[in-house]
């Protein structure tokens, strides 16, 4: 939660700086965010590779557990397809790309604004922040009515870190492993799926 607020603060500070127009030319003209994105992806890779805990989690698991991220991907895409019927100004491709963030707002928003447009990048930022915050708030309720996978499903890629404590508390510690696993799989897939959705067959 604190992490999300800091991120929103940086984003808001950027928006205000942009609106004020008090920016040096070099900052606007060069494609700084592209280089920063390269750096982010490299570091994100190191984080995944160096995390011994998550690799051992993946090794100790039976096949059934793959159903969870697969179900989250399928369910998310079906759900946002229905959402897209309510949003005539966005194409299905655009809505699917936002959904493919699975709560990983920092990466998906930057990715989408580089690949597609800043406007859709902001939709991705807000939508995926909503997904994380809703998971933090409603996991107790969701688990009560929709079973112990509900918090993991709602959390998407965030179920490996930011929403893990609340999931582990309400679904039980034996579901924490499933939660971490599903979150890792989705986190790794986010950049690939967003790229695929926005560029394939275009």
């Amino acid at each position: 939660m604190k992490g999300t607020l800091i991120i929103l603060a940086f984003f808001t500070a950027g928006v205000l700086l942009g609106i004020s127009g008090e920016l040096p030319k070099t900052l606007i003209s060069a494609d700084w965010s592209m280089y920063a994105l390269y750096l982010l992806m490299f570091l994100a890779g190191i984080g995944i590779g160096a995390d011994r805990k998550s690799w051992s989690v993946i090794r100790s698991i039976n096949v059934k557990i793959f159903l969870v991220p697969a179900g989250i991907i399928t369910g998310t895409f079906i759900g946002v397809t229905i959402s897209s019927l309510l949003i005539p100004t966005l194409s299905l491709r655009e809505v699917l790309a936002v959904g493919a963030g699975f709560g990983y707002y920092s990466l998906s928003s930057v990715f989408i604004s580089e690949l597609h447009s800043e406007a859709l990048g902001v939709v991705a930022l807000l939508s995926n922040i909503f997904r994380e915050i809703s998971t933090l708030l409603f996991t107790p309720l969701l688990v009560k009515y929709f079973g112990k996978l509900a918090g993991i499903a709602s959390g998407g890629a965030t179920s490996m870190d930011t929403t893990l404590p609340v999931i582990s508390k309400f679904s039980g510690r034996d579901y924490a492993i499933i939660s971490v696993f599903s979150g890792i799989v989705l986190t790794i897939l986010v950049p690939f799926m967003v790229t695929f959705i926005l560029t394939f067959g275009k």
Partner: protein, 90 residues
């Protein structure tokens, strides 16, 4: 965009090699946070300079909310079926 995916994969390989030193993850987390803050600041600046987004902020927020609700509802219902069928056997 291929460059980005290759960078991520090479990062994973570097991480696998450096993972035996616990300090790697600590330093990497700090750098990763700094990179995320920088990127969101830059995204914010781009948005602030873009009048079309600023004038439509309410609409954009509403669209984001509708997509988030669809994503959550879809995955929760789907995983409910998976839970009932494969996990809740006892």
């Amino acid at each position: 965009m291929i460059a980005i995916l290759i960078l991520m994969l090479s990062g994973i390989l570097v991480g696998l090699a450096l993972g035996k030193y616990p300090i790697t993850l600590k330093i990497n987390d700090k750098l990763l946070n700094a990179a995320i803050y920088l990127l969101l600041l830059l995204l914010g600046i781009g948005v602030g300079l873009n009048d079309k987004i600023i004038d439509n902020f309410y609409n954009i927020g509403l669209q984001a909310l509708i997509i988030a609700l669809g994503a959550i509802a879809g995955s929760v219902v789907f995983c409910w079926v998976i839970y009932k069928t494969f996990f809740h056997l006892k």
